[in-house]
Amino acid sequence: MVTPIHLVSVALGTAFLLGFTKDRNWKISGGLVLLALLLMNLISGSWTYALFFGDQVPVQVFTAGFKPPFSINLQMGRFEAAITLMINFAGLLGAIYLFDRLKKAGRYAFMVYMVFILGLNVAVMTRDLFNLFVFMEITTIATAGLIFLVQTGKAAAAGLKYMIATSIISGVLLIGIIFAYSLVSTLNLDGIIDGGLPLIKGGAMVVFLILIALLLESKPFPANGWGLDVYESAHPGIGAMLSVATGPMIAYVIFKVLPISGGAWNHLIAITGIITFVGSNFLAIKQHNTQRLLGYSSVAQAGILLIAIGLQKELGHTFIYVAAGLLMTNYFAKAGLFWLSGLIKGESLQDWTQLKGRPVLLFLFGLFVFSLAGFPPSPAFFAKWELIMQLASHGGYVWMVFILIGSFFELIYLTRWFGQVIGSKEKSSAQPDLATHRLVPVGIMGVGLLGTMVFFLHHYAPDLAIDFIPIIFIAALFILDFLPAFLKNTVTILAMGWYLLQHISDVQNDTVRLIFFLIFLAGGAISLLAGFSYKGKRIGYYPFVAMTFVGLTGLVTATTTLGFFLSWELMALGSYLLISRGKNAQKTSWIYILFSVGGAYLLLMGFGVSFAVTGDGLLSSLGIAARALPAVGILLTIGFLSKIAAMGLHIWLPGAYAEAEDDATPFIAGIMMNAGIFGLILSLSIIAGHPFTWWLGWLGVITAVGGNILAAFQEDAKKLIAYSSIGIMGYILFALSMNIQMAWMAALYYVVLHFLYKTILFLAVGGVIFRTKTREMYQMGGLIKKMPLSFISVLIGIIALAGIPPLAGFGGKWLFYNAVVMNGWYLQGALVFFSGVVAFLYCFKLISAIFLGQAKDRYRHIKEAPVWYILPQYLLIIGLLIFSVLPELVLQPVAHALRSMPGEGIQWDGHFAQTSFGYWNAFIVMTVIAIMFVILLAWLILNSRKAQKVKQFDMVFAGETPFTPETSHVAYNIYAPFNKALGFLVVPVTTWFWHATASVTDASANHLRKWYNGNGQTYALQMVIYIVMFYLIIRGGF
C-alpha cells in the first residue's frame, strides 16, 4: 500500500511545482493538478478498498519518525480513507468543473486549490490537535482565496465575512488547544482522550473551547450567517466544494475530537445538530436564490449528521450506515445540484425552468432533489429509517419528532422547487450552459448516487424481502423512455399481468391481501388500457406509473415495516410525479406530496414506536406492539388517514385528482386510494376496540357527509368525483372503526365496489373530457346522443354508487345497516345514510349536466370516447354486474378471512344471505327487477311505438322557443337552495386552517431570516453570543 503520507506529499509537491509553471502554460499546470488529484484519489481509493473489503488494518503514520507527542501522527482508518476519498473525488471533479475558472485566474488559483484539498486531507487524517488547527487554518485561507475567485463585490464581502468568522473560531480553538496542552501536556488526540480532560479542573472549559470552535466551524444555526453568505455568493463550484468536501471534513473532525469530552458532549452536539437541522430547513422555505437555498440545505444536512454523531452511542452498530447514508446522499446530490446550478443562467429558482425539455438533466435534477428529500431508495431514506428506529428504541421520541419536523420543512422547499421547475407554464428563455466539462461531473455524481442506492438496497435486501425485478423494471422504463407510448403501455400492462400470475400464490391464503393485490394489479392493468388513446412518447409517464404500482404491490407483499414503508414512499413519489405532469398541477401536486409525506412521517413514527417495543421490524409484530402501546396504532391510523383524505386532511385530494391527466386519474383515484384503506385495515386491526376508534367513527361520519355535500357543489366533473371519493372513504373509515365482523365485511365490500365504480366513472368522464377538452360540466350537455356508451357506463356507475338495487351498491348499504345496528352506532349510522342520500345530488348532477339537457353547438360533431377508454370501462362493468348478481363470490371468502373478529357474520343459503336482523337475495332481486323492467319497457314501447323523434329545442317553453343551448342548460350551481339550507355545514374551515398554518410558517420564516442581515460585524457578534449562550446553558443556568 502506498503510505497515506503521500496524500500530503503529492498535494504539497504539486502546489510547489506549480510555482515554476507559467500562467500561459495552463495546460501544464492544469494537467499537473488533475494528475495530482487523480493520484490522490488512487491513494485514498486503494486504502478505502483495502480497509473495507481487504484485510488491511488501520495504520498510523508518524511524520518525523518519532512517536507522538514528539511528532505529528496521521491515521488512515476506514473513516479516514472513505472521507479522504470523498474529498479527493470531489476535488478532482470540482477541478474539472472549475477548470476554466481556475485557468483564467492563473496558476496561483491552481495552487490555492491544491492547498485547499491538501488542508482537507490532512485535517481529516491528523491525530494531532495543533496540527488539526494548522491545517484547518490552511483550509480556511485557501477557501477564502477560492471565494475571491468570483470577482464580484458580493463575493469579496462574503470572503471578508468568512475571514472574520473563521478568525474568531481560530482564536477560540487556539486558546482551547493551548490550555489543553497546559493541562495534559500533549497535543496528541489519543493522549488528550486518555488524559481524561473533563476530570481535570478547568478541563471542562478546555473541552468547551475546542468543541465550540469546531462546532462553529460546522456553521450551526443560528450563528451561521457568514456561511450562508459564502454559499450564496461564491462560485457554485466552490459552493459544492464547501458543501461536499469541507462539510464531511468538519463533521469528521468533530467526530474525531468529540471523545475528549468523555461523552459529556454527545447530546449537546446532537442538540446543536437538531436546532441547525430544523432551523435551517425552516428558513430555507423562504429562499428563492438557488445557491442560498442549497447553502441552507447543506447546513441542515451537516446538522443531521451532527445528530448522528452526537447520538452514536444510541445508534450503536447502525451508526455507520446512518452516517454513511446521510453523508453520501448529501455528497452526491448536493454536489450535483451545486454544479447544475452553475449551468443555469440566473440565480433564482425560477430560472431552473431552463431544464425543461432536457429529460436527462431533468432526471438528474429530480434524482438529486428527491434523494435529498429522503425518498426511497436514496441512502438518506435508509439512514433516516435507521435513525428513527434506533432513536425510538432508546426512547428518543422527542428527537424523532424534531427530525421529522425538520425533514418536513426540507420536503416543503425541495418539492416546491421541483414543482416550480416542471410545473411552471413559462419556460425560461435563457439556454443553460452545457459545456461538457461541466456536464460530466454532474453526470458522474448522478451515477454515483445511483450506485450508492444500489449498494444500500443491496445491504437492506434481506430486511426488505422485496423483489428486485420490479425495481429493475422501473429503471428499464427510465432508460427506454424514448420508445413510443403504446409500446411502453403494452409492456407495462404485460409486466403487471406477469407479476400478478407469478405472485398471486404468495397472497392466496390471505383474502384481504388477495383482494388488494388483485385490485392493484388486475385493476391497474385494466385502467392502464386507457393509455392507448394517447399518441407520442409521453416521456416520463410510464416510469412513474410503474413506480406507483411497484409501491402498491410492495405494500401488499411486504412483511417488514421497512418494506412497507419503502413501498409506501415509492408509491407516494410515483403518484406525485404522475400528478405533477398535469397542466395546472403545480400547486396541487405540491400539496399532495406534502400531505402524503406528512402522513408517511407519522407512519415512520408509528413503526419506530413499534420497533422500540418489539425490537423487530416485522409487520406481524405490530399487533404485539400496539397491545403494549396503542400509540403505535394511533400514529399509523392518523398517517393512513391522510392518504384516504379524511376530513381535515383532505384538501390535497380534489385538486390532485382533477389536475392529473385524464387516464392517470382512474388509477390514482380508483386504485391507489385503496392503499390508504389497506393501511387502515392494518392499523385498525391492531387497535380494534380502543376508545380512539369511536372518534374515528365520527371522523368517518364527518368525512362522508362533508365529502358528499361538497361533491354536490362542484362544477368540475373530476373534482366532483374526487369529493365523492372522499365521501366513500368516509363510509369505509366509519365501517372499519367498528370492531365487528359485519362492519369490516361492509368495508371490504366497499373497497371492491369503490374500485369498480370509481374507476368506471373516472374512465368514462376522462373519455368525455378527452373529447370535449373541458372539465366544466355546464359547458357540456346533451352528450348522450353522441356518447351513448359513456353514458351507459356513467349510469351504471352512479346506480352502483348510490346503492340502488339491483346493482352491487345496495349490498354495501345492506351490510352497513346491519353493522350499524349490531354495533349500536345508531346516530352515526343515520348520518352516514344521510350522506348516502346526498350522494344522489352529485350523481344526478354528474350524469345530467354532462349527458342530458341541451347539446352545445361546439360538440355537434363530437365522437364517442376513444375505444381504449371504453374497453376498460366495460370490462369493469362486466365485473360489477357479476358482483351484483353474485356478491357471495367476494363476501364468503371475506367472511372466512374475518371469522376471528367479534360479532356475527352472514348465513349463506345458496344466494340467500341472512343475518340476525335481515336477509337479502341479490340473485332473486336482480332477476325480479330485470324481468319486470323488460315487461314494462315492452308495454311502453307497445303503446308509443310511433313516437316522433324530435330535436333539442322542440319543447314547450311557454309558447316561446329557447334562445340558445347555453341559456337553456340548467347545470351550473343547480343546488343553490341546498347550499342555502345546508351549505353552512361545509364552510371551508379546513382550508382556512391549512392556509393559516402555511401563512404563519411562511411569515415566521420570513421574519426569522432577517436575523441574517448580511453584516460581518453582526455575524461576529452572533457567534460570540452563541458561544456565551452555549456556555451558560451547559453550565446550567445564567
Binding site: K773, F953, D954, V956, G959, T961
Partner: protein, 219 residues
C-alpha cells in the same frame, strides 16, 4: 346607444369551432328543430273501441292554461266552487304536452297568434280548440284593428265556438258540454283536419306573421 344585441338574431346560421378546431356550421332552424310535417292519425278501426276511447277523451278535458285576451278572465271562475268545472272532467294543465284542449279566449293579436299556434302544435293528437267570444269568430269589436285577427278558423281548426262579448262562464260550461257531445259522436277529428289542410293553414298563418322564425310545425 343603439343596442340591438339584447335580442340577438339567434336563429341565423353561424359557425362555431369544435374542441378539435374543426369548424362547424350550425343552422339553428334545421339543427335545433324537427322539421317533420304533422301526420294525420286515423281513428281506431274498431268502432266500439274508438267510441270507448272517445268517451274517455270527452270526459277528461285537460285545458291548457293559456289566456289570450280578455276572455281569460272568464276561465278562472270556472274552477271556483261556484262553477266547479272539475265535476265535468275539466281541469287546467300547465303544459301543452299534457293538455288536449286549448281555449282561445277572446281577441288574438298577431303576436299572440304565433304563440298560440306553437302551443297548439305542441299538443298531441287528438286535440280540440275552443274559440271563446265574438272576436274569434269575426273580429268582434276589434274587427278593424290593425293587429288582431278576425277569424280564428283560418289559422287553426276550431271545434266549438262560444259567442258573446264576453260569454259568461255558464256559456263556457255549455261549450264544454257541446264539445263532449262532438267528441263522443266521433267528430273531434280537427287535429287530423289541421294535418290534412296543413299547407292552407300555414299559408294563412305566414301571411300575417311576418317574422316567421320558427319551423313550419312545432313539435
Amino acid at each position: 346607444m343603439e343596442n340591438k344585441d339584447f335580442i340577438k338574431p339567434y336563429y341565423e346560421s353561424k359557425i362555431v369551432e369544435s374542441p378539435d378546431g374543426e369548424e362547424i356550421k350550425v343552422n339553428p332552424l334545421e339543427d335545433y328543430f324537427c322539421g317533420e310535417a304533422p301526420k294525420s292519425h286515423a281513428p281506431n278501426s274498431n268502432k266500439l273501441w274508438e267510441s270507448f276511447l272517445n268517451w274517455a277523451r270527452a270526459e277528461s278535458l285537460w285545458v291548457l292554461g293559456f289566456g289570450t285576451g280578455c276572455g281569460s278572465m272568464e276561465i278562472l271562475p270556472l274552477m271556483t266552487p261556484r262553477f266547479d268545472a272539475y265535476r265535468f272532467g275539466v281541469q287546467m294543465r300547465p303544459t301543452p304536452r299534457q293538455s288536449n284542449v286549448i281555449i282561445i279566449s277572446g281577441y288574438l293579436s298577431v303576436k299572440t297568434l304565433k304563440r298560440a299556434i306553437r302551443s297548439y302544435e305542441q299538443m298531441q293528437n287528438p286535440k280540440y280548440v275552443m274559440a271563446l267570444g265574438s272576436c274569434t269568430i269575426n273580429g268582434g269589436m276589434y274587427y278593424d284593428s290593425y293587429n288582431t285577427i278576425n277569424r280564428l278558423d283560418h289559422y287553426m281548426p276550431v271545434d266549438v265556438y262560444i259567442t258573446g262579448c264576453m260569454p259568461r262562464p255558464e256559456a263556457l260550461l255549455a261549450g264544454f258540454e257541446e264539445m263532449k257531445r262532438l267528441i263522443k259522436a266521433g267528430k273531434g277529428e280537427k287535429a287530423n283536419e289541421y294535418a290534412e289542410n296543413f299547407e292552407w293553414y300555414k299559408a294563412n298563418q305566414k301571411k300575417i306573421i311576418k317574422d316567421w322564425n320558427m319551423p313550419d310545425y312545432n313539435w
